[in-house]
Symmetry: D2
Subunit: 342 residues, 4 copies
């Protein structure tokens, strides 16, 4: 059986990544590609690397006949996404990759994103899309909210530790190193090659990055009380990858065992042997997340390092994993490709 | 039906690329991984990006039971390769990725590689592995010699033009820009990040690069008379990719039509619309080759630009394509993954 | 004696490079920094790497009192530059870094740049700024037109050869590999790190790049008859550097001797020993140009390779060298810093 | 007055950086370049970017006549350095760039470096070379021990804070992002472009990096009691730069004021306005260190970010700054060049 797929926002990086992945999927077919600003163009014009594929031309969202679509990926900017989704058929299965439906509390949304939410009804039914922890809800969901790529990385490192209570909840520091494709295809000076190559730096310091809304929501829910972490992202001269170095207080051996047990049956989460740490070059282009644990020389402190590809496991790969579940397909279908190295 | 595969020289970049590709192949199974210097190690130790795969540990070549192997990829250094292959079972199907069996004339081999050939018998039966042009011979071959990655790129741009006689045979210039993985995983000062990043340069200037042996052999054979091209490779700060800028004398429209016609039915060769030129970012990690043709402002001159991934279409992808043919499998099996962009 | 300097267009890359160089100059002082779009900002806000310098804040051009300025660098976009310069005091010494005064023939300007020239009077008096070949004219010039960075590189490789008639004038090919800072600080998709890193490509193919206007003008003037070269620039993933691979027909030894003789007394042009080729990593951040000559295996053909830093010798360094001459200062003052490697 | 200089270990990156800097120094002249493994070669052969300089050829250390040398820079590997220095004239002024004389306690040296110290006499007289904090001792020192580049970065961020007691001494985390030239020119797999580009990772995790020996020694001395910090370095795909993200507990405003006051008169340390953070692209190739302070959203926590160039302020620039003091020259001579951006 083949499922008909639409992608809205097909001309951005996450859209391109969705097409790449679905092209290798055995039971999905792309029926519509929406991209208002580039409507009328072929995919070969917008993404020459996909020119070998037999795909429909880009159209405006209004031109899409959703009655023939089984599932729609929404890769639009936040705020636009909620406006579009509010007007899509109410029974259409949707995986949204934007930030619009990640936060369950509309006030939290307004605080982090600066505007009131315009699709409160849909927000209520949205399921948070961190597959490994919301699998059952996702299976029966109509609308799944893809997580932030930084938020996913940090949660893979920390959720089992918070749940099992093996780290000090009041002293968690996430120092993230993010590749530039996470910022999308937008034209900003600090994303130019001449600025970024040989130039790396921290940004959104001091707890101002929006993905903190997700950390606060999820970690507090697990712990059953407010949990606030410190989180500093850095932009590094690479295209794909997030490396989270997480500083926690707790017993490193226990932490390692907790993570190993939590992810033992997970197809995409690899916990490395105790004392080893991952590198972004070993997950590039794949849906895998590598996690390592090392004890610090100071007793009672440990470092957890997690690595994933922001466009795959951090975004479009996660979205496809969720779509598989929503459509009753094997969760790993189309996602087992090995990383690209070197 | 599953075909049992062995890879010799599994710890280099082309070995890793073979494993990546075969991991996504529907009817091949890796039974043995040979790597003398790293025998005893697991693949997770040598290539952490492949740790999710269920693969045999590395062994010495002597330890491999070839009686259970259907096809063997040889990703060893040249000279070593011929010595090893001379001692493999005489009925074992082999795809060799080294330079050892590319040149049909033993004297040409000795001239370009500096040592007499040590496996003359095998050299006689070897078929040159440029799939699109030796397809029928490859189907029935026992030993196929993978082409040089630069040699493949230049030939894709030029073979149909030479065959149809639409360019001046005495005035062809190939200016190649090669990514660093083409040099393999060897420890050389000029391959260090600190030397190469922000530093690019020509090398093997003046007609001294060994892949010229292949150009001379193939182009002369097609033309039916000696053809010598100028060829200057450059090392650029990128990991994957070869971009060949080929300067020819001839009518650009005719050249474009000739290439378009030659590759019309080819699954992996994409001839771009007249006037467009390819970029390495659009073929990365894939088995595709993009070719563009542009007319120069000077009448009677044209520029042909070809781009492919040196590790995939230029080496391991080509090898798998040939192996598919040799085993009677669909030629494109395991090779249709879309490029990784960005 | 201290010379008072103004820089118009101070917020772009060539503006920043001028400030970097002048900061190390013994007898120049920056009195005014013009940047209309960023007027009111301090240099520390626009260029944090210059925050240690004691510099005036950015102002609009109208706010500058040119009566106290001895020499003005104009680092504005072409077309804007001619409009601004037409209205500057008629006795003000000016080094223009734009394309506006490079072409002596107004029709050639209109052809290559698409608009009629708006400062014909100034165009008449402008001297072409390739210091090594226009030194005497520059000394007494009021207005010097900085050359294109690609145009400079190609001319350093070719001018002495054309002048001495040691190469075939009808078969010259320049294949250039350019770093991204040459495109300036403009926000274009193909200049993003995610697009350019791991992605390189040819652009302006077929003889459409504007710097050809300079090649045509200069080479024809030297030869005393029309000379048209083939010229294909490529964008590579690096920030600084131009590498020109020039294919010529002629005797390599004679070519090498001709270049060595021509540049023997030049402080910034280094001709490498016969058979050696330069790398961009050896001229980065400096005013030096390295040139190498290699004989091809085909008799009567040679490859000349030239490397320079597009922002220094190709633009702002050249501009300062010219300003030194115009002000009667030692030509090399402020320009002898060694390249930055690695 | 001109001071005669020798550089031992001239063929490594810190040696090249010393030559670059001294070439622009008004009162130093390089009389001898020692490099045992490359003795007999010219500097143009080893470092083509320095070919324009008039320098002596490389020689063995034994060939150098130290009686004519006023000051010797030792840029040798640790362990070799102590053996060489033990045999140099006892009155020769020396700036050592290795790790051999940084730790005052021979047992601490043996613990961190794995061998007993072989020049205990010299170790006793060595002064720790962090100029801004040992200025007076350095002026009268005979032997100055250059600091580790990571150790310098962390100390610039933390020393004033520890001295003034404005941060919790038991909860300091240094997360460093280091460019690859800090690893030197050694041939290691993880330093290859193909491995590092698009691949970044933590290393020496858990408190095993040798520069911790310096942190422990210095911070404990300032505090008057043992201080142990957490320190995790990361290798990122860049050539030059160290970015230290330091997590401390204390009042951010007080921390910012403390740092601003401490460095107010320092020529090379720039404390950014409150709330701003530095980038490595703004200090590249220079002797400057930029420091920023940001308050975290969690009360009582702050992030201090420091950036410097590992080869300049972190190594060879620091060494020259110290040599200036030792020779009675203006401390900033030869070191005020602006950073190279882009």
């Amino acid at each position: 059986m083949t499922h008909n797929i639409a992608i809205l926002g097909a001309s951005g990086y996450t859209g391109a990544e969705l097409i790449r992945l679905i092209a290798g999927h055995s039971s999905m077919q792309i029926k519509a590609l929406g991209a208002n600003s580039k409507a009328g163009q072929t995919i070969a014009e917008v993404f020459p690397h996909l020119r070998h594929l037999d795909l429909p031309a880009l159209v405006t969202i209004e031109e899409i006949d959703f009655s023939e679509i089984d599932l729609c990926f929404c890769a639009l900017p936040h705020k636009t996404s909620q406006e579009v989704i509010a007007n899509l058929p109410k029974d259409l299965k949707i995986v949204d990759l934007s930030a619009d439906f990640r936060l369950r509390d509309p006030e939290a949304y307004a605080k982090w994103y600066g505007n009131p939410h315009a699709a409160l009804e849909q927000q209520k039914e949205a399921v948070y899309g961190l597959t490994e922890f919301y699998r059952e809800e996702i299976k029966s969901a109509r609308l799944v909210a893809g997580t932030g790529c930084n938020a996913a990385t940090g949660q893979f490192a920390l959720r089992p530790l918070i749940e099992k209570g093996v780290v000090d909840l009041d002293d968690i520091i996430l120092d993230l190193k993010c590749a530039v494709s996470g910022a999308g295809r937008s034209l900003k000076e600090n994303l130019l090659h001449a600025e970024l190559s040989e130039g790396y730096h921290a940004y959104s310091l001091g707890g101002t990055h929006r993905h903190l809304g997700e950390f606060d929501q999820e970690f507090s829910a697990i712990a059953g009380r407010p949990v606030k972490v410190q989180f500093t992202p850095h932009l590094v001269p690479a295209n794909r990858g997030i490396l989270a170095t997480v500083y926690v207080k707790g017993d490193a051996e226990v932490i390692h065992k907790t993570l190993a047990a939590a992810y033992d049956a997970e197809p995409f989460i690899e916990v490395l042997p105790m004392g080893e740490a991952p590198s972004t070059r070993h997950i590039r282009g794949s849906n895998f997340c590598h996690i390592g644990v090392v004890a610090d020389r100071i007793d009672g402190r440990a470092i957890v390092v997690a690595a994933l590809d922001n466009l795959t496991k951090g975004s479009s790969g996660q979205a496809l994993q969720n779509a598989n579940l929503m459509l009753g397909i094997d969760e790993v279908e189309g996602l087992m490709m090995a990383p690209l190295f070197p």
